[in-house]
């Protein structure tokens, strides 16, 4: 009965109801879009970053994360290899041997740059990471004939082209000075200055020979089928190995990116709550006005024996119905729109926008991800706001004395 009464009351002033519901729909739509964008883009960016280099799980000797230097390298023994191969939760692993050094142009010895020299297993990287995705037709370094792929900006700064050679200088595994010539087999550009401006990628075997490092590698990265399975993989790994290792999962490997996205989330929540508050005031006004208009009516209802609790409930139901109509309209637009956007990520074409996103080493693409939990969450938040906004007018309507209320002028 209360529901029917509430529905009729809303129908009495269609324009007001329409406008208020429209405001609700506007808020619902914007919240759903903003949240789907944040969710989709963040997941996409995390996945892209993790697949560029860090991996889902990283295995190294204890202390490697703190120092990241050669003396924390670990021996990739046949036993360790077969342990890694035997992990059921892993889709593959790749060894790396990293150090910092100087890349010097062969022709002009005074032209050099600090370089991040990484020995990789090109086949494994090609299969597991997107490190070599942008390489095009260039050759990957082959073992035996020391070759290197250079970050494109590094190659430009050194003025070297594919086929020419560079001199790499660094300290070897035992602390002696090491210098060796590497032929440039190609350049790569992945959109992250840590790679484009600094990276020299060689074959891990050549790197081990260059650094006199035997079978030592800096770390091994492992990939799980999805990011969510990384923890399981880390547990498996830790169970199959003796102590003394350091096993980190991707949230610990890209903490700065995760924090940046968290900061973005915080900003989103702040903006959306302001939107909700402003819309909540509009709702409060509508319900308040409709209560003030109906003082006599409420008096009559009370005089006919309706309980104050029922009057209170009536007003709340009106507000909930009104908001639900808005949410329904918002959903009706948001869901089809998101279904389309989900399949068609929007590339950022604006030069400034793209540049800004690239500043954080991210792909300039907006990805939407529709999630039922978010749609429900948004609806729930708006319904709670509807209840809160209706509370003061509902209390007012319920508290009025029937006698006085009926004497009110219309």
């Amino acid at each position: 009965m209360l529901g029917r009464l509430a529905w009729r009351n809303l129908g009495r002033n269609r324009r007001r109801t329409g406008l208020t519901a429209a405001a609700g729909a506007f808020a619902a739509l914007l919240m759903m879009l903003a949240l789907a964008l944040a969710r989709g883009s963040h997941e996409y960016w995390i996945d892209q970053s993790v697949r560029l280099y860090p991996g889902h799980v990283r295995l190294a000797l204890a202390g490697y994360e703190e120092h990241g230097t050669l003396e924390y390298g670990m021996r990739l023994s046949p036993a360790l290899r077969s342990a890694l191969d035997a992990l059921p939760g892993s889709v593959g692993w790749a060894p790396r041997l990293e150090t910092w050094g100087l890349a010097v142009q062969d022709a002009d010895g005074s032209l050099g740059r600090g370089a991040w020299i990484v020995g990789v297993d090109p086949e494994r990287e090609r299969e597991l990471t997107r490190l070599f995705d942008g390489l095009g037709s260039a050759e990957l370094p082959e073992p035996g004939a020391p070759g290197a792929v250079l970050g494109a900006d590094l190659a430009r700064a050194l003025g070297v082209r594919t086929g020419e050679s560079i001199l790499l200088l660094t300290g070897d595994y035992y602390g002696s000075q090491a210098a060796e010539r590497f032929r440039v087999t190609g350049t790569l550009s992945v959109g992250d200055p840590r790679f484009d401006e600094r990276a020299v990628l060689t074959h891990v075997g050549d790197m081990q020979a260059f650094l006199d490092a035997g079978r030592t590698v800096s770390h091994v990265v492992l990939f799980a089928p999805t990011g969510e399975r990384a923890d399981d993989l880390a547990r498996e790994l830790s169970a199959s190995l003796p102590g003394g290792y350091e096993i980190l999962t991707w949230p610990e490997l890209v903490p700065d990116l995760l924090q940046m996205l968290l900061l973005d989330d915080a900003g989103n929540w702040l903006s959306l709550s302001i939107l909700v508050v402003v819309v909540g005031f509009g709702l409060l006004n509508t319900v308040l006005m409709s209560v003030l208009e109906r003082r006599r009516e409420f008096g009559t209802l009370r005089a006919l024996g309706m309980r104050p609790r029922a009057v209170f409930g009536l007003v709340l139901i009106e507000s909930l119905l009104l908001t639900s109509a808005g949410i329904a309209a918002g959903l009706a637009i948001a869901v089809p729109l998101l279904l389309v956007l989900e399949r068609n990520p929007i590339p950022l074409t604006g030069e400034q926008l793209a540049a800004a996103v690239e500043t954080y080493h991210l792909d300039p693409v907006l990805v939407f991800d529709l999630s039922a939990a978010q749609l429900l969450g948004t609806s729930a938040v708006l319904l709670v706001v509807a209840l809160m906004a209706a509370l003061p007018p509902a209390l007012r309507a319920a508290r009025g004395q029937p006698r006085e209320a009926m004497r009110e002028p219309t």
Binding site: Q259, L263, I274
Partner: protein
């Protein structure tokens, strides 16, 4: 007109509850808008300030072509003395010569790539905050060479010291491209600039030691200029270009020309806050339109009476619009009255962002943001508020103006 204002004002007071709720939504929305704008401007300036004060400076003078290809081959001869004296003679700002080059920092078994900066300690402290940001030891002061060791001094960032496992007094080897190749140094001090990315790669030695290391004689690669007011940069740049026209060929670049992305960031943040404004103002417009519409419907008989007494439709249109503007104007005024002191206070104490310090440090921000509003930040939201008042008021106003007097009078 003043009669219109009086009537409009009285009408707003008649439905004071309704007006108060609309007012509250405008005040909350607007204060939040200004708050968020101030925060983004503060964040942008934080990043720029940190970059400018650590290394970028407001203006930098290099040999021509250095910006496109920053090699130590492009140099300014004679310790840059000619340029420095020209800058100082003209009183253009604080200037410091630097020799900047890429190199490798090595301990017994560790290698890290570094940007090696040779500086004149006394001058450097006038253009950079690094000399004042030491967490341990001392900077490259004049006494450095007479210090307990015969090795020349080096100052490194906290992040690099951590990775190298180096402490004050430890020996480091710097290796650079070229014939001279390498030199041993002893850690004299450890600094923390606020940007972990910077602290990981920039190391400082004396200018003379850097010249020896890079075998560059008495050349420098850069003269950094810090101005008392960043806004003067374009004028000073123009004057310098005139002054330095003679040999050798030099280039004078502003910080935003050397780091265009940093400059773009603020513009972009401005654009994002525009989107946010649009959303909040649209939400406010629904509330304003609704309240005015209600008030118009309550007054149909009144409008009929006014019309039949000879008030023209256009005056009634104006009346309702004036109500809309009064309401919005009042809300804007109160919103500004709250936001300006709030931002001023937050700008004094700053907002600690410790939770996000890793990300902020990595992307070159310090973890305390000082919100600020520039004079240019006010006209746009205020203009948008006026546009909102106009758009939200138009529908109710047209409704009121189009009423037929005879029907309106009979309305119950």
């Amino acid at each position: 007109m003043s009669a219109l204002f009086r009537i409009a004002w009285r009408n707003l007071l008649r439905g004071w509850r309704r007006s108060a709720v609309v007012l509250a939504s405008i005040v909350v929305g607007l204060t939040a808008c200004f708050g968020i704008l101030a925060w983004t401007v503060g964040l942008g300036h934080n990043g720029i300030d940190l970059a400018v004060r650590t290394h970028l400076a407001h203006l930098a003078i290099h040999a021509r072509g250095y910006h496109a290809d920053s090699s130590t081959d492009r140099r300014i001869p004679g310790d840059g003395a000619a340029v420095l004296s020209a800058v100082e003679r003209e009183g253009l700002g604080a200037a410091a010569p630097r020799l900047v080059g890429d190199g490798l920092v090595q301990t017994a078994r560790r290698n890290l790539s570094a940007v090696i900066v040779g500086v004149d300690a006394a001058r450097e402290s006038r253009v950079s905050s690094v000399p004042d940001s030491l967490v341990e030891g001392a900077y490259l002061d004049a006494a450095a060479h007479r210090w307990a060791s015969r090795l020349p001094p080096i100052v490194v960032g906290e992040e690099m010291a951590r990775r190298l496992g180096a402490e004050v007094g430890d020996k480091l080897v710097l290796r650079v491209p070229g014939d001279a190749g390498a030199g041993a140094f002893r850690v004299r001090g450890i600094y923390r600039s606020g940007s972990s990315a910077f602290d990981r790669s920039f190391v400082y030695v004396t200018l003379a030691d850097a010249q020896t290391l890079f075998a560059l004689g008495n050349a420098v690669t850069e003269i950094a200029l810090l101005l008392s007011d960043a806004a003067d940069a374009p004028q000073v740049q123009k004057r310098l270009r005139g002054l330095l026209a003679a040999e050798p060929p030099l280039e004078v670049l502003r910080w935003d020309e050397r780091q265009p992305r940093l400059a773009q960031m603020i513009e972009l943040m401005d654009q994002f806050s525009w989107v946010f404004y649009a959303v909040v103002f649209a939400a406010m417009a629904f509330g304003i339109a609704n309240a005015l519409l209600m008030s118009v419907y309550e007054r149909i008989r009144e409008f009929g009476l006014l019309r039949s007494m000879g008030l023209r439709g256009s005056r009634i249109l104006l009346l309702v619009l004036v109500e809309s503007f009064l309401l919005t104007g009042l809300g804007t005024g109160i919103g500004l009255g709250l936001a300006v002191p709030l931002v001023a206070w937050l700008g004094e104490v700053g907002i600690g962002m410790g939770w996000f310090s890793q990300a902020l440090g990595e992307y070159g921000f310090s973890d305390r943001i000082y919100p600020e509003l520039r004079p240019g930040d006010f006209p746009e939201p205020i203009g948008m508020a006026a546009a909102t008042a106009l758009l939200a008021g138009l529908w109710p106003a047209l409704r009121a103006a189009r009423l037929r007097p005879a029907e309106a009078l009979r309305h119950v």
